[in-house]
């Protein structure tokens, strides 16, 4: 096998992939529930604002809201089963399709939000992987490890994360060229975003005014943002550089909140970057109260 094959198929514990399934699946379910009100409110929008994207392009007109809501609710149920690893071979592809449809429909009203692209891509990828070979409900014992192992799947999720950031950096260079680095472009973007929010009755960002007064800071931030985006594929090369990159990318998103009041919950909660770390340790730490309760329960029944 070539070095590329050895690297791509390097082993990883099944629990790590399972932890990614649980964390990403749980977020997807919660996110869809949180969007239900907004999805239902689409019924009140003028039909001329319907601008279908992605798979929703098959529609010539908006769906009845009852149908939209039903698909969203079924999607939530499927995502819960996906997270639990229950009947995964059936529920996972259906959950991925439901999430793809529901979020595509949400983004089909004149605005592509970019807050859930990577989430949807990750759920689709997880549905194609043996992500329920561990930490799942209902199974008596874990299956034998597949010949391909689990490491490739985790690398794939990480590569998809890196690809999305790389695309963002490429878009900046293609649309603005190197002028994007002069600091003025970023300053104007921050100013215009806050202007729109102020004029449309929404909250502006706490640091926008302070930052705009410092042109040198703008140049540094422009360089930093582009370095993080174009440098994203380097995060696949090793643990140390992955950690350095993910903290930089997370800091970038915190900066976007502080300067534009734009929230990308999936990376802000660290989930976009979870494939780059030992996800099973993170999930095990978060699940510690649940594990302690189970241990006490089994002690009592013993």
């Amino acid at each position: 096998m070539s070095w590329l094959g050895r690297w791509w198929f390097a082993p990883a514990p099944r629990e790590r992939l399972a932890a990614l399934r649980i964390a990403i699946g749980a977020f997807a379910a919660i996110w869809t529930v949180a969007r239900l009100g907004e999805i239902l409110a689409l019924a009140g929008l003028v039909a001329s604002h319907f601008a279908p994207v992605g798979v929703v392009r098959v529609l010539g007109a908006p769906l009845p809201i009852v149908v939209v809501a039903a698909i969203a609710l079924v999607t939530v149920a499927l995502l819960i089963a996906f997270t639990a690893g229950a009947w995964f071979r059936v529920t996972a592809p259906l959950a991925a399709l439901g999430l793809l449809w529901t979020m595509s429909y949400r983004n089909s009203w004149g605005m592509v939000f970019h807050t859930e692209n990577l989430l949807v891509l990750h759920v689709i990828a997880l549905a194609c992987m043996p992500a329920a070979d561990a930490w799942r409900v209902g199974a008596a014992r874990e299956p034998a490890a597949p010949p391909a192992g689990y490491g490739w799947a985790i690398k794939l999720l990480a590569a998809m994360t890196a690809a999305t950031y790389l695309l963002a950096g490429v878009a900046k260079l293609r649309l603005a060229g190197l002028a994007w680095l002069d600091g003025d472009q970023l300053r104007n973007q921050i100013a215009i975003d806050n202007l729109r929010k102020a004029l449309l009755g929404s909250s502006t960002a706490p640091l926008a005014r302070m930052l705009i007064a410092h042109p040198a800071g703008m140049v540094a931030l422009s360089l930093g943002a582009l370095a993080i985006e174009l440098g994203a594929p380097l995060a696949l090369l090793g643990r140390r550089i992955a950690r350095l990159w993910l903290w930089g990318a997370w800091g970038f998103h915190v900066g976007v909140v502080l300067t534009m009041n734009i929230w990308f919950p999936y990376p802000l909660l660290g989930l976009a970057f979870l494939p780059l770390v030992d996800a099973e340790r993170v999930v095990a730490k978060l699940a510690w109260p649940w594990r302690r309760w189970r241990a006490r329960r089994s002690d009592r029944s013993a």
């Binding site: 692209n117 695309l167 649309l175 603005a176 729109r196 004029l199 009755g201 502006t204 705009i212």
Partner: protein, 151 residues
Amino acid sequence: MTRWLAAIISIGLIAATLEPVVRAPDDDGFPLSTFPMFAHRRPPRVKVSYARGVTGDGRQRELAPRHLGTDEVMQAFSMLQRAASGGPAARQALCRAIAARVSTDDDFRDVTAIRLVGGWHDAVAFVANDMRGEPTGEVEYARCDVARSGR
């Protein structure tokens, strides 16, 4: 799962994720996107479309994104932009839709009319002035009355 199948899935999904790079950067989509956020060159002076409520005594009141039927400010902005470029019928349709929502909002019971407006602003000066500033030029796209049932 065999290594061959895993390799096919890997190549397929990475290729799909990266596919937008061969499109025009503005040819956005979902979930496969060029991610063009914050990427465009923008001058500091811009024309922004927004909606205003007009009270009986002629004052203007700021409306919220929910009056456009969404909690997302960028979606509200996009709707206003589309209506502004969509012609008189589209503008009136949006104006009436906003008026209908405002008519049921008790916090805005003093609003008697809706204006859809495009105003020129120096965005950097606006932010530097603590998010305050009047437009240097304004054009009214549409105006409609807020109809209220007698209470």
